[in-house]
Symmetry: C2
Subunit: 205 residues, 2 copies
């Protein structure tokens, strides 16, 4: 470390605390002492407490747009790494879940949005976008491709996507709350994906 990145350290410490206690319950002194400075020094980097949250939402959560696979919805041509078999799907989704669960910034941002969703209208919208609409849109596109390729039977793709990814959303939230249940959850995910494929293959016959 050795300075220069103090502002970044503040953002990281703040996110860590906001994601457990929430914004209101986290004090400036707490954040400052986690970074190793006095609370007064923190005001050299941010105008006030709210500015920390604003910056977090803008930067840390904003990098979602550039990095998250769910933010892009162009399932047009690049059907290269499409999961055509249950095994592929389990591998792909399993890896994705593990990444979402263990990346500190991502998991903390997700938890913070859960905590603050009823408090703040704009955070509610962000929560819906990142952890519902975009995910649903992503899987709707993927499933449309799989239908077109004849891998899955024809049916309402949006409902199929919901049936596929919303249980997984709930299981991710369960792991956020009780991390020790991760292996149990991963087994459920495995069974769920295979059953989903089996089902929507059969019915298309």
């Amino acid at each position: 470390m050795e300075r220069g990145n103090t502002k970044q350290e503040i953002l990281e410490a703040a996110l860590e605390m906001f994601s457990v206690q929430g914004f209101e319950a986290t004090s400036i002194s707490q954040i400052a002492s986690a970074v190793g400075i006095r609370k007064a020094s923190l005001y050299s980097h941010f105008e006030n407490k709210q500015a920390i949250l604003d910056e977090l939402v803008k930067e840390v959560l904003g990098q979602y747009e550039t990095h998250s696979i769910f933010a892009k919805t162009d399932w047009g041509k690049d059907n290269d790494n499409l999961p055509l078999t249950p095994d592929d799907a389990v591998k792909m989704i399993g890896g994705q879940i593990r990444y979402l669960l263990h990346d500190p910034a991502i998991s903390r941002a997700r938890k913070m949005l859960v905590i603050e969703q009823f408090q703040n209208r704009s955070l509610a919208k962000l929560q819906t976008k990142q952890n519902y609409s975009d995910v649903l849109g992503y899987f709707t596109g993927l499933i449309k491709c799989l239908i077109q390729k004849g891998v899955l039977a024809e049916d309402d793709p949006e409902i199929m996507a919901a049936q596929f990814c919303l249980p997984i959303s709930v299981w991710i939230n369960l792991c956020d709350r009780e991390p020790e249940r991760e292996t149990e959850v991963m087994e459920l995910v495995d069974k769920h994906i295979r059953q989903f494929f089996r089902l929507y293959q059969q019915s298309g016959r």
Copy 2:
């Protein structure tokens, strides 16, 4: 009103605020003024702020055990009002969702648990029990009955239950966050239930 129920009014006001702002961000004065008394008077009813939360968890959330249909899991004999058709299921589940969404105590308790789930280990456990395990157990039992009756095809009942009720959980949470989307959500629920039945009927042929 006219007194005598001040303690109850305090609990209700507190739950209303805890369910939006969270416990830490809600002050004693806020609760007191919502009830129409001074903050000092509140200490005649509760030893301290924590005692309000404890009582809420014990009483208001505890009445879940006696009133919620999800708390009972005996699908043994009383297969009277079993939803045998998609229409029945849509009607039954739709009514249940509307009840869960609009009953003030239930919806506030649910939101409070969402907000406090990462803060407090025992509230995390309660959240998992009430809004995950019990619901999953309830629908696993129901689905087992429907399989036995030949209404649905044979498959892993726990996974079927997850595919059935976890999307609905997510949609309820979406309505908690953005109540104006209720009708849109109810249409999704309708389509989801019919597609679920159609699917698991077909595959059993």
